[in-house]
Symmetry: C2
Subunit: 465 residues, 2 copies
């Protein structure tokens, strides 16, 4: 593991805050090592920095109480959902109080006629979709992990469906949040659109808990499509697959998912899930629409794929076949780790304009080879977003150094192509240097906003800025 | 006209700034009364508050120079595009320098493969669409007026196509802006999605020039659909039309436009454009898609409309017929003014959850009747957004008072239905009291952000907050 920088601690403040909160929360405040470790956990190569205590909050008022106590004693507050973030977002580099929001897990309202719902932050995307199914509705954002919706908003998550339905920024109508002084705000009403003042909704989406804690979300929903089909197609090269992706997007086919797996990723998935797919670059797609629309989209894509050298094109509306394919995709990360037992996954997350996709993927492959690393590519390529996952032996200092070099070089390549170092994972601790390279002068405005809303700097310190 | 509150002036600072800028800009700085009046013009009932000078900027560096000079002398800076905003956005209640951005009118790049383009803020939406047509692309946001894209971003504009394509918040990828200290930032790269730090793009979209001046926009584009059809259908009552709207949205029909005109609005449009439409409530719709998709959508809507008592349903893909219908809709505001010569239009802009639409429209009609006013309703009802336009004799103090009462009551009705006082026009000067009623505690966070980014308070003072 790589140690993130520790920040100065306010030991006496932390001790006082824990004593006060213990009075209020009793057994719902925990200081045991195991539980603290678990709440500093990140699904990545950044070492654990546990908080000093974990409080399990049950409602907005309790969250406000915690934040007020922490503000009074200048103690860091770190929000926690499912701990599936990838850039050290839940680490506590200055110690402090972790607020576990998973007991705030109620779907408060479903307005089927308005295609929206109101949920607490600890509702996971799978729990919400289970709740909605009977009403013919679904929430489209799917980052793979069964993350909490509060966490997904905080990292501006997206995933496989974003090419059609957008990211969390496009699917959050309004938020309730506890600000760093403990006050509670609502960022918007429930109207589908509004020009009422500054867009605080979008400011909190992607703020990674550094400006406040999300305590309620109003989300846009979609009707479950009449028909869904999944398709897969193998390609002789990653470049050929990327050409098919670019053409599909440029044709305006409203594809719902379009995922790339390179040959090594297909191998991993085959080994993990016994799929028996040809071990060459693969595109997995999904189409949503009417029966006729889905058939039309699948056929058009089939033609594009064939023009790009694709083979083994196959599509199905059979739910079991669809589920099997997408489950394999979702379990890729664990499948990948099995390819090199004991290795740690380094997840990267660049996103480039779609016209640069093939070139960016090629550069990634070249750099993996140049640096003598093991890397696999999967990606939400319909958005120009791909993840090169390195499998790194963390005991090998030289390999680790090369892995870190790769991450930096890949981020720089993406930035030089007018892309971003993070399409959906966020900045957290890991990407702070790259945010500076990517947006330079804009960081001043971000710092000014942070200082204005959180003058004590207690909200999830050491992240983003 | 109703006079907006004047704010304290810094006369010596303004005089000094004008003298300095005159050196740099020569004839491109104007202080004549006519030009100043024109740049304080608002298409509404709020009286003109002209700036002290108008500077015609040609590039970002010049905008930065102007802002630096104004900051050095604590002089207000008011950005100006086409002056088609509706809530006093371009008024200068504390005097100051108006920056006319209409000479920054270049389309800098069209990335057809990436479905995006880069434009200067003075490019209008019609100019952009003319530029794009040959490439089979279009920019979907259409607020009616041929507004500048910088202005449209600043008010978070939307209009007739928003039900399908979203608002400016959904269609701006990145911005270049001059901040209140004169520094220049880019808010994002050109990737389709990003989780890189605070969403400054969305913070500036809808900030009405109070946080900075937009000097460049990267916009999402759409492929021109294979087929477009327009439909119209008359209804026995506004309520019946609203029921059809709600059902259409709830069915998930991807309608591209869905506009309501009440009987009086149809009368106005008939008189203005000689359309000969039945003078009962009318829905105008547009469908985008493949030939088959458009036919399917039109047919499904036809069935819904018939179930709701609609009659005279008719649809066409003939471009001239489509243009004629939509031109009439776009010219509604001028048609309305002709219904009562000499009267001034009071445009309202509430937006409610779609399930409350029929009820909100009914309340509006009741209140117009109760207050003895002349009011007409048109609206982007697919989003729950409608405009009750009052025709008011401004010389009649009693009528004016009743009109102001109506506006307040309608806004309160919308807010009580979890809606907003402004779906797309913005807050400007006119809606500031209602923003407080709508978002209350969130105003503190907005004020903190304003103070952090614009500590001198020089950016478009007297707007939003």
């Amino acid at each position: 593991m790589v140690q993130a920088t520790a920040l100065p601690r306010n030991d006496s403040g932390i001790e006082t805050a824990i004593a006060i909160l213990k009075q209020q929360f009793g057994d719902r405040l925990q200081t045991g090592a195991a539980i603290r470790q678990q709440h500093g956990h990140t699904t990545t190569w950044i070492a654990n920095q546990p908080p000093d205590a974990v409080v399990f909050a049950r409602d907005t008022q309790e969250v406000s109480d915690i934040v007020r106590t922490c503000a009074a004693h200048k103690v860091p507050v770190i929000p926690f959902g499912t701990g599936t973030s990838l850039e050290g977002h839940v680490n506590a580099p200055a110690g402090g109080i972790c607020v576990d929001l998973m007991q705030m897990d109620k779907v408060l309202a479903v307005h089927a006629g308005d295609l929206d719902c109101v949920v607490q932050p600890g509702v996971t995307r799978e729990a919400l979709n289970t709740h909605l199914r009977d009403q013919g509705l679904f929430f489209p954002i799917d980052p793979g992990a069964n993350a909490s919706l509060g966490g997904m908003a905080s990292t501006r998550a997206s995933g496989t469906n974003a090419v059609r339905y957008g990211t969390m920024k496009d699917n959050v109508v309004a938020l309730e949040a506890v600000l760093p002084d403990g006050s509670v705000i609502r960022t918007a009403q429930r109207a589908k659109k509004s020009s009422a003042g500054y867009d605080l909704t979008r400011l909190l989406v992607g703020a990674e808990g550094t400006l406040g804690l999300i305590t309620e979300l109003t989300l846009r929903l979609q009707g479950i499509p009449e028909a869904m089909s999944s398709a897969r197609c193998s390609f002789p090269s990653v470049d050929a697959a990327c050409q098919a992706v670019m053409t599909t997007i440029q044709y305006g086919i409203p594809v719902a998912r379009m995922e790339l797996l390179d040959a090594l990723s297909v191998q991993a998935v085959n080994a993990h899930a016994g799929l028996g797919l040809p071990e060459t670059p693969l595109l997995l797609l999904e189409f949503h629409g009417s029966e006729a629309g889905v058939a039309e989209q699948s056929a058009t894509f089939g033609e594009i794929a064939a023009d790009c050298g694709g083979s083994g094109f196959d599509w199905t509306t059979n739910p079991e076949d669809r589920t099997r394919l997408w489950k394999a995709r979702h379990e890729f990360y664990w499948a990948a780790l099995h390819m090199r037992p004991g290795a740690t996954g380094f997840a990267t997350d660049v996103c480039v304009p779609i016209s640069r996709l093939a070139e960016a993927v090629a550069r990634s492959n070249e750099m993996v080879a140049e640096l003598g690393l093991t890397g696999m590519i999967v990606g939400h390529v319909g958005d120009g977003n791909f993840h090169t996952t390195l499998l790194v032996d963390m005991e090998d200092a030289d390999e680790l150094a090369r892995a870190e070099q790769f991450v930096g070089r890949l981020n720089d390549v993406a930035i030089s192509m007018e892309g971003t170092c993070t399409g959906e994972h966020g900045i957290g601790q890991g990407k702070r240097p790259y945010l500076v390279r990517e947006l330079g002068p804009a960081l001043g405005a971000m710092r000014a906003i942070k200082a204005a809303l959180d003058p004590l700097g207690i909200m999830n310190p050491g992240k983003i800025l």
